[in-house]
Homo-oligomer: 334 residues x 2
DNA sequence: CTGAAAGCGCTAACAG
DNA sequence: CTGTTAGCGCTTTCAG
């Protein structure tokens, strides 16, 4: 199918390519009469602009990238929904990249972006990300980055986060009010600010109640290993009577462990989890959750990025936008 | 940042642009000596090819599109994972588009693809899709399409599906063996082959057991309305003792309805659902599921697409690849 | 208001 | 093996 080009329309109408181009761009330089003729011809001939020619010339791709650890996660899936809505509004296209929690993968992806493939980037860093050189390099090449959820605050850009410290503090306090005295916290990576904030909130609540029992676990990417870690919690004298999970995918594992070891929730163990998982209320027992405003985070992140793209001066400063989470208490923490 | 171009490398090395281009492409026409010099210079100067210039010239974008109804769905999220893995292997980029079950949105997206923005398309049609003109138009413009899950078999291309008829048949038979005699089936859209196949499997099983009770409901996109539809099931003499859900997002609603109306699962109602939802075993009660091989479907769909892209002759025929689902019986159907 | 010309950065014939 | 030439299809000065 020889697709229709500007040149063909120009020839058809005995106009110049430049005029046709401007007419289609609705330039003030072109008369209404000509615009109508061109528009009509374009429609009739089925003209569709070649985005690659246009991008090459304009040095803008009308495309943004979303870089996330994983898509099969209710939080990230909802964030993408929010991003997509805003991108659609601005006529932008959305490229998706997953790091699968690998720093080297993340570096390779960022390296590619130095080509100008995308106009901007929305990202949540991997668990392994303990350096930001690869991100800085892209920002230096004039491609703005907006972080969400898993942010790196040392870079001069906007971070969209939720109130992780406060949520963890409130969650821990709630468990304490339910008479838990040995509360464990399970995070994923000490390198992540989000994880540190939650851990700090947890510790601050313990301190406020002069509780000395502290038990911070790190669970990674290997389900078998994580199962062992979680199971070992209940095989010692050090066993907790409450637990806060910072990672959605550990829910299943914890429920499995408790099932296998006959640990009753909430009788022997009260549970609260950071998650966005819609069915939490129908688990057995119903799971208390700290719900992040995922869709909103996606929307605000995208809006922030487009604001940056609209600006000509690219002086960007470190800045945080905090959208509050909501805790829903259910039977698992009662 | 004035990014490095071929021209700059060429000037630096006193070579022609063409030679540099070929050297970087590892062309057999270029001597190893020159290749090394060029590669080294490119590395040192931080050269990264402009993908838009390259795509314009080569008429290949190295990009595929994934068009799905919704991303916040465990099935589609896993499919994307599979697609992404294969795309990564081939050095392709993945654009994501959501139709949100709207035909007009789907048409607008396909319209855009006539621009050659993507080399190929992987898609699952919307509930509303009762015409294929918009898809055919893209295929006619030489952009191959591979369908998965929600397919349109009338188009000459490959469809990756699972054994929906057999699964529904087996699920229904299982409920019958558990003494259900009034089994309802809840689907989403009569326009979708996938839905019709499941419905047919359901009906075939009923017929085989000479059961005359048949109750097919259609639930759409409006949760409130769907709640009403599901709730009304239990308020009449026609109320079922078994139910098969064809739609993941109805699980929550059904559990809610049963909770609100004090319908005991599985005592008064046995439930089986098509879903890929990882936590199904920890719901209350544990939910029997028909698990589609989502990740595999994504991989096979992508592999099929890349095979088509590799071919020069673009004669494509209607063809189905069937990957079997797996039924996991849990308490909800016992 | 319209058009001619130049060129974004790259690749592909084709000569040499 | 290397270079010259000619664009891909579009946008943008700049003249007229």
């Amino acid at each position: 199918m020889p697709s229709v080009t500007l040149k063909m329309i120009a020839k058809e109408l005995s106009l110049s390519v430049a005029t046709v181009s401007k007419a289609l761009a609705n330039s003030y330089e072109i008369s209404d009469a000509t615009k109508n003729i061109v528009l009509e011809a374009a429609r009739k001939m089925g003209y569709i602009a070649n985005p690659y020619a246009s991008s090459l010339r304009k040095r803008r791709s009308k495309t943004v990238a979303v870089v996330i650890p994983e898509i099969a996660d209710s939080f990230f899936a909802k964030v993408i929904n929010g991003i997509e809505e805003v991108a659609l509004f601005y006529g932008y296209h959305v490229l998706i990249y997953m790091t699968h929690e690998s720093l080297s993968r993340e570096q390779a992806i960022m390296q590619d972006f130095r080509s100008g493939r995308v106009d901007g980037i929305l990202m949540s860093v991997s668990e392994q990300t303990d350096t930001v050189d690869h991100i800085k390099a892209v920002m230096d090449s004039n491609t703005p980055v907006v972080f969400f959820d898993r942010v790196r605050e040392e870079l001069p850009t906007t971070c969209i986060v939720t109130n992780d410290f406060e949520s963890a503090f409130a969650a821990t306090s709630h468990l304490i009010s339910k008479n838990c005295r040995k509360i464990a916290f399970v995070g994923n990576s000490p390198a992540l600010a989000i994880n540190r904030n939650r851990e700090s909130g947890y510790k601050a609540a313990l301190k406020e109640h002069q509780i000395t029992y502290e038990n911070v676990l790190i669970c990674g990417n290997d389900p078998e290993n994580d199962y062992t870690i979680l199971a070992s919690l209940f095989r010692s004298d050090y066993r907790p009577d409450g637990i806060i999970l910072s990672v959605e995918k550990l829910i299943q594992l914890l429920y499995q462990v408790c099932h296998d070891l006959n640990v009753n929730i909430p009788g022997q163990l009260k549970v609260l989890t950071f998650t966005n998982f819609a069915m939490a209320g129908f688990l057995n027992p119903p799971l208390s959750t700290i719900n992040q405003p995922a869709y909103e985070i996606g929307k605000v992140a995208a809006q922030t990025l487009f604001k940056k793209l609209a600006r000509t001066n690219h002086i960007s400063e470190a800045e945080s936008i905090v959208l509050p989470s909501e805790i829903i208490f259910r039977e698992s923490s009662n």
